[in-house]
Symmetry: C3
Subunit: 292 residues, 3 copies
Amino acid sequence: MQGARYDTVSFLTDYGTSDEFVGVVKSVIRDLAPHATVIDLTHEIAPFDVRAGSLALARSIGYVASGVVLAVVDPGVATHRRAVAIEVAGGAGVLVGPDNGLLAPAVALAGGAERAVELTNAEYHLAAPGATFAGRDVFAPAAAHLCNGVDLYELGEPVDPGALLPGTIPLPRDEGDELITEVLWVDRFGNAQLNVGPDDLPATWGTDLQIRVSDPTDLTGSTVRRATRATSFAELAGGAIGLVVDSYGMYAIAFDQRSAADELGVAAGDQVVLTDLGDPAPVETPVRFGRQ
Amino acid sequence: MQGARYDTVSFLTDYGTSDEFVGVVKSVIRDLAPHATVIDLTHEIAPFDVRAGSLALARSIGYVASGVVLAVVDPGVATHRRAVAIEVAGGAGVLVGPDNGLLAPAVALAGGAERAVELTNAEYHLAAPGATFAGRDVFAPAAAHLCNGVDLYELGEPVDPGALLPGTIPLPRDEGDELITEVLWVDRFGNAQLNVGPDDLPATWGTDLQIRVSDPTDLTGSTVRRATRATSFAELAGGAIGLVVDSYGMYAIAFDQRSAADELGVAAGDQVVLTDLGDPAPVETPVRFGRQ
Amino acid sequence: MQGARYDTVSFLTDYGTSDEFVGVVKSVIRDLAPHATVIDLTHEIAPFDVRAGSLALARSIGYVASGVVLAVVDPGVATHRRAVAIEVAGGAGVLVGPDNGLLAPAVALAGGAERAVELTNAEYHLAAPGATFAGRDVFAPAAAHLCNGVDLYELGEPVDPGALLPGTIPLPRDEGDELITEVLWVDRFGNAQLNVGPDDLPATWGTDLQIRVSDPTDLTGSTVRRATRATSFAELAGGAIGLVVDSYGMYAIAFDQRSAADELGVAAGDQVVLTDLGDPAPVETPVRFGRQ
């Protein structure tokens, strides 16, 4: 009765690729909805790191093809978190995963939840030989059946979209002359994305900023560096430290072809304090008096 | 003359993904059978670990879409092991790979080998510029031609299905009050699957078991812990150690959101001894006499 | 107006798979050219290692399906390197990527550049919210539009194919009795491919060669071993060291089921000196005189 409705499943997990988990989930989708193509976003989210997963999904959501987004980072699989499917953008997309905040930032960026269900209808689950493997037994079949045209409300009980668990992306804090920011993400190349975009900096601040990174395990010290604001990586020649507006529109601490994160010793979740240093001074010739 | 027969190739190897091996094999399949979709199960089997590969394939086989299964873990590529294709389930599936035990457990789970050939027909091989890269030059073309409708017996000499090399999955051993088991698999989350299912434990055993892990490099000690049998991870709240019936129907040693394998120091192949501890005692208030 | 022209994009980068970069690029292609299938060659080229990327691409190019090859290893993204598309083989293939030598060996193996453009036409780019992510915003749309039948010359300004940056694959050097070679690649199994094929060795040399590996960090020593030339890994029984003609037609230092690279301490880029040792001597029974 139903025609194929979606033909793309965009897929993100913390499953890694050493085990066959990702392959088995894709096999289930292939079996139930052979017309659908699965696009892997990433499966290397650190185990149980819901925040990192939600951020990767938020960075991706503007680019995924319309269809189903299947995301599983699920430390609460053993507890009573709900398995949900959330329709967005007039039905152009459905996000499927645990209701633990993982999907929330992406849902918000896609315009907000319009309809939502808890995946309670066991007719659309696979029977497990033992404990439920939610990705394989609940989420993958839901994604496949949605691709096949099954209506969202067939998959389970309606859920009030306003009652879905929100995500928790930290906002920067203004403390006098300082802006307290946080590293959201360190990418493979060592760029450290902050939770600050160009509009979040005071308009009076100049081109040069001080960045201060405190090592929480070393109370005696912190790393302080001068960084120059840049609108592209192309301006970072010659080993300068930059606060570059990255390809997602956020400031990232970046070094020219080296890992900023390694040099500064920062990781996702670390605090970075920004202070205005005004505009760069004209180059001065140092003049020295007396003995050196 | 032949129509497309299969449109899915499920693919498992020990090639890793750092080199282009997996991509080249897929390119060969794409070139010869463009209608076929390749589903990666995993390529991170440890190099030459036939047992681990055969177990991952056995865990997957119940879920793969009908079609071709291409599996290559091949320490004997340099020796005279045979390259084979094995038909199962009335032709619903064909497993392609080396005849070294890798395919055997999956073949058995799929109902047993019905027809088999050695891939000796060089017309269906690629010519290599040097040494044969079996995945690229022999197995991938075989998989692709099978997808295109080439009959199994065109690919080479028939092989007696009963003469295929069997797999070697260890069985648990009953030794008086003890059950000697083995860790089959440690997954990304640290759950340690044993070669024991619920039907393998004596019916008289209670809910609580003792698990004893011997460190073969340390003759002086072994780790002994109390574990509770559980039918799902959901029962494992509060840091308890569980013997959970995992999503494949086998017992796995599992900790709540921590790696059981790390905590106990176990890896695939290690021995674990189980002993009955009866049912949990009622909670007692300890009463102590005398000096502490 | 245009019909689908290519339906395969073969994809190689240094993006890794921990971040969602690969998935986002694929999402862009999926969105713009839903009929195209993306085949991952590898994404684990070391960050910014153009040479390693160009070699992996060269090893793959003979096997990729006709269509678009999208390759991005791009340390110069911040500088004024050009983004290009290069047509080869009478239009059977187009290589898309940075003009930094990455594509050059593959282009040469595919018969040479026939038409080339710089990807300057912004109508075929995505608008970035910040800095340009070239893979997502420039290269992926170019690949997708080529698949959709857009003509190469619509994507930007024509470039003289002779002005494209060449690759830099080192040639072996003949120094008297010695042949100075270089390790091109160490694969997952530890085989160390040299920049020497069977035709590069003097015809007078025998079956046995001396291989000398100098440790550049240890001036006092070098590792010297006897190796036997072999035309396949099958001849390497019993722990012998072989110089095997590998599956790409080049000599590789190989050990039977062990990592030659680990045993000899060599990595890509290291120098290996080959010297003739003639043919193996007949087996001699050692005779010893006097006290040992």
